[in-house]
Each structure stands twice: as C-alpha cells, then as structure tokens.
C-alpha cells in the first residue's frame, strides 16, 4: 500500500520564518500537482489541525504533493502578535506557493484555504493565474458575520467560567475569542473583504465546500464561472472539526475524500 513521506521544516525570509510540512508519496512517479494547504486561524487552527494533517497525508497517498504551513504569528511560525492587516498573511501564502514550486518542481499548483484563509487563497489565486485549482473549505467570506460568531463564542465561553475574567489595564482594540486576540484593524479588513475580479484569469477548476451554501460563495462561483473556471459549489457532508474542541472533534473523512478526488482529477 502506498504511504506518505513527511518533511517538516522552516522556510521563508529572514525575520518571517514560516513552519511548513511537506507531504509526498513514499514511492511511485514524481507528482505533477502540488497543493498548498493554508490553515484556519485562531481557535479553529488547532481544532482543524488533525483534519488538515490527514488531508495532506491522503493527498500524498493519492500521488500528490502537499505543503501545509502556518501563517506568521500562528502555529510554529515566527512571530507572536497577529498582523493588523491581511497583507502579511497574503505574503505568507505567496511564500508557501513559491516554496512548494521550488522544492518540488511540480508542473502545476493548487491552493486550499479553510475558513478565514479561504479569502486569502482567493486573493492569492487571483494574483497567480497559473494556479490550476482552488479549494475553498467552509469559507468565512462574510467578515461581519464571522466577527459576530467570534463574539458569541467568547460570550458563551465566559458564561461557563466559575468566576468572571478580570481584565486589568487598557485593553487592545479588537475581539478576544477563545484564547486569541483578533486586532480591530484585521477584523475591519475582513468585514471589507470582497472577492477580486480575476481579470488576469481564474483557476481552471474550483471546489467550494460549505456547511450551508452562502450568497457570497455563490456570487464568487458565478464570477469564477464567467472567467472560465469549472466550479463545483457543494454542501459538505462531514462535520466541521473547527466547531468542536480538539479532543472531541471528528475528522470528516467524507469531505477529505471529496477534496482529494477533486485534486487528483487535476493531476
């Protein structure tokens, strides 16, 4: 049975070293397609980690290359404070794409974004028209709704504590949600985020998997279709691991299989 080979490493530029993990088939012909997997952020990062780890492994077993990486100031990557804008994370995704292309020499690349990073993957795909495929897994295209869900999650959490949290001193502008500080300016950019026009060209194929089909994703699907992409906009059939604690979440095998099948068609 085919298996995977994994190679964890740091890459990127000075003062912004990013952690990544390459997954490759342990045998067989050199993969033609490589996919960059951009993780969720905040409390959803750890909750989705196992699923994305398994997704990368499944890609490798299916004969693809995969690079999972952590945005700066998240996971194992350098930095401790989240950026005030999406700009640095957009650059990180570009670095990851270059790292995959230079290290593996795959003929074609694909991008996968989960939750908030789906917006970054859309931006990156628009700037890299050579990107063969784009996968958007339960994207948070509605920044205002996402911010509201962060606030509600924190309220529910604080109501469960034995005593109220005492916040000393002046608080930074933004939202505290389940152990992470979302800067106000970053949230503002997410609220203002709109899909780019893809004037330079769109990926050849796009898969949008959502827990419930949303108007914003439908608009994007329509736009990408007009730009010549073959778009599949589907309701995911598995659970959303980012909704559960790490010890309780299930890996949605059915959705991983759908994503791998979609990418394998491209290879």
């Amino acid at each position: 049975m085919a298996s995977e080979r994994i190679d964890p490493l740091f890459f990127g530029i000075k003062d912004r070293r990013l952690f990544g993990c390459h997954h490759a088939p342990s045998q067989g012909p050199a993969p033609k397609l490589g996919v960059v997997i951009a993780p969720a952020v905040g409390h959803e990062y750890s909750r989705a980690h196992r699923a994305l780890r398994q997704l990368a492994g499944s890609c490798a077993v299916a004969g693809l290359r995969a690079l999972r990486f952590d945005f700066s100031s998240t996971g194992d990557s350098q930095g401790d404070r989240w950026p005030e804008s999406l700009g640095p994370w957009r650059e990180d995704l570009e670095h990851a794409l270059r790292e995959l292309a230079s290290r593996t020499r795959v003929a074609r690349t694909a991008l996968l974004g989960v939750r908030v990073s789906a917006s970054l993957a859309v931006d990156c795909a628009a700037r890299n028209p050579g990107c063969a495929a784009l996968v958007l897994w339960d994207p948070c295209f509605d920044g205002a709704a996402h911010e509201q869900s962060l606030r509600q999650a924190q309220e529910r959490f604080e109501a469960s504590l034995a005593s109220p949290i005492r916040r000393a001193g002046q608080q930074e502008a933004g939202v505290e949600c389940l152990g992470f500080h979302w800067p106000a300016a970053l949230l503002g950019e997410l609220r203002e985020w709109r899909a780019p026009s893809f004037e330079q060209g769109a990926p050849q194929r796009v898969l949008i998997l959502e827990s419930a089909l949303s108007p914003r994703a439908s608009e994007l699907a329509l736009l990408l279709g007009k730009r010549g992409a073959r778009v599949s906009h589907e309701v995911s059939r598995g659970s959303q691991p980012w909704n559960d604690e790490v010890d309780q979440g299930l890996v949605p095998a059915v959705d991983l299989a759908r994503i791998v099948d979609f990418l394998r068609e491209e290879s």
């Binding site: 994994i6 964890p8 490493l9 740091f10 070293r17 952690f19 993990c21 409390h43 750890s46 980690h49 196992r50 780890r53 998240t74 996971g75 194992d76 350098q78 401790d80 959490f157 604080e158 469960s160 504590l161 034995a162 005593s163 109220p164 949290i165 005492r166 916040r167 000393a168 505290e176 389940l178 152990g179 992470f180 500080h181 790490v246 010890d247």
Partner: protein, 284 residues
C-alpha cells in the same frame, strides 16, 4: 535572539518537535508535552509562547509531539499510550540533550501531558523540575467511589459559583425547569466540604510517588485552574498536610482564577506565562 529548529527524536527519528535555543549555551532543558490531543503548539499556542520566553532566559526547549499526535506518525508498537508516552518524553530529552548539551530538565504538561510528565519524572532523575497543569490523575486510576465523590464536589462548585448566582437559573427553577433539590443538596455539600479538611491518602501509590520525587530533590509545581477537578483530587490524595507547605516546600500549588481546564482566557495565559517565567529564572 531565539533560534528555532525542527528536532527529530526517538530511535527512528519519527517523533517531531520544535526546539528553541538561546543565543548562549543553554543552562538546562525544558520539554513541553502534548496537552491531550492538542499538538505541540499547545492550547491557544501557549506552548510556543512558553518555549520562546524560556529560551530568552537561557533555556533550551522542546515542544514534542507524542506518536499519533500532530506531525509524529502513529507507532507500530502496541503499547498503550500511558506506557509509551514517558519513553517518548525521555527520547525527547535525549534529543534535546544531544542538540544543546543540557543535562537537567524541567518537564511541563497540561491535562494528560501533566500525568505523563509526572510518570516520566519518576523514571528519569534528570528531571529536576515539574510543572503539572490540571493533571487529571497521577499514577493511579481514581476509584469509582472517589470519582463519584469528586463529581459531586464539582457539581456543588458549579451550583455555588455559577447557577445560584445566575438569575436565569432561578427563572428556570421558578418555571420548574431546574432541579431545586439538586441545587440545595449541592449547596449543602459545598458548605460541609468547606468545614472539613480532607485527610488525604498517605499510603496511596500517588502519595508515595510524590514523596519519591521530593526525596530525590525534584520540585513539583502544581498549577490548577480555579474550580478544576484536579484541586479536589489533590486534596483527596495529598490531604491537608499539602496545604501546610508539606514536603519542605518542594511541592507548591498555584491557582489560576477565572479560567477553564485549558487556561483559555488571555488573562489566564498571561498569568501562567508570568508564573513559569518566575520559576524558570530559578532553573538557569
């Protein structure tokens, strides 16, 4: 400036960790173990912050993934997690020692990671410091009777600290949707438990293990979230003598207020970071 590298551990190098090195020769090593199934970044990335702060003080650190967690693949070995995790933690210590030259270690763990740190320390005298955060148990599986008693105390604490002070609970009670008797029983138990000091279980394997560590000179720093099950469990096994600064101050307990089992609130994270930094200054 802290330097970070991927560090492989274990005989076949399959265990994956991230090591942080200070810019001068390290004075001691710190190994952070998985908190349950959370991979090596720790809950809310707390292990990353702890490792970096420790390395800034002059300590070499390793955030290690046990096999089957994070980027460390499942092992073919059939041993249960409880049996193999201490061996893997020791393999992590070996790798960090080889990479940095350190000879003595602090182990830090939360939840099951704390339990594994405790077991590792009993096997390996290189462990001089233990930071055990919300350990659900130590050596022994608590008896069904003890679990039932501790769960009652947990319920009592919930009713006392949360439900009885929440207007919504009273509204539910008035509409017959809350168990008033259970609330009253819980409140009574809470009052009684505050009047009686637990005697502990000095002959238990857990208590003996704590004494072994203390006699060997290992400092044990217990960190507990306010209201965590571990508070009652510690009282049950170590008893009131613990509070009296027993074991010559080698066992110390710190309570972090207003937080959950994983120390999720930013204020709780800062409290833990500051606490461990104070401890780490004594390790260098």
């Amino acid at each position: 400036m802290v330097r970070e590298e991927v560090l492989r551990a274990g005989g076949d190098g399959s265990l994956v960790g991230i090591a942080s090195f200070p810019d001068q020769p390290a004075r001691a090593g710190v190994v952070l173990l998985n908190a349950g199934l959370v991979h090596r970044v720790g809950p809310a990335r707390l292990w990353v912050a702890l490792a970096r702060r420790s390395s800034e003080l002059g300590l070499a650190t390793l955030r290690l993934d046990f096999s089957g967690i994070g980027d460390s693949p499942e092992t073919a070995a059939s041993a249960r997690f409880e049996a193999r995790a201490p061996k893997e933690a020791r393999a992590g210590m070996d790798a960090l020692a080889a990479a940095s030259g350190v000879e003595r270690f602090a182990l830090i763990g939360l939840c099951s990671g704390a339990e594994m740190a405790f077991k590792t320390a009993l096997e390996d005298p290189r462990v001089r410091e233990l930071v055990l955060i919300n350990s659900p148990r130590f050596l022994e599986e608590p008896s069904a009777e003890l679990v039932a008693r501790l769960e009652k105390q947990q319920d009592a604490r919930y009713y006392w600290r949360v439900a009885l002070r929440n207007p919504r609970s009273w509204w539910k009670a008035l509409r017959g949707k809350a168990d008033l008797r259970a609330m009253a029983r819980a409140a009574l138990l809470r009052v009684r438990s505050r009047e009686t000091r637990p005697a502990g279980a000095p002959d238990s394997a857990d208590a003996r293990a704590f004494r072994t560590l203390v006699q060997r000179g290992t400092n044990v720093h217990l960190v507990l979230s306010e209201g965590d099950w571990g508070q009652d469990y510690l009282d049950a096994i170590l008893g009131a003598s613990f509070d009296a600064g027993g074991a010559s101050g080698k066992i110390q307990r710190t309570i972090v207020p207003a937080c959950d089992h994983l120390l999720t609130p930013l204020a709780a994270q800062r409290a833990l970071l500051d606490h461990v930094e104070r401890l780490a200054r004594t390790w260098i």
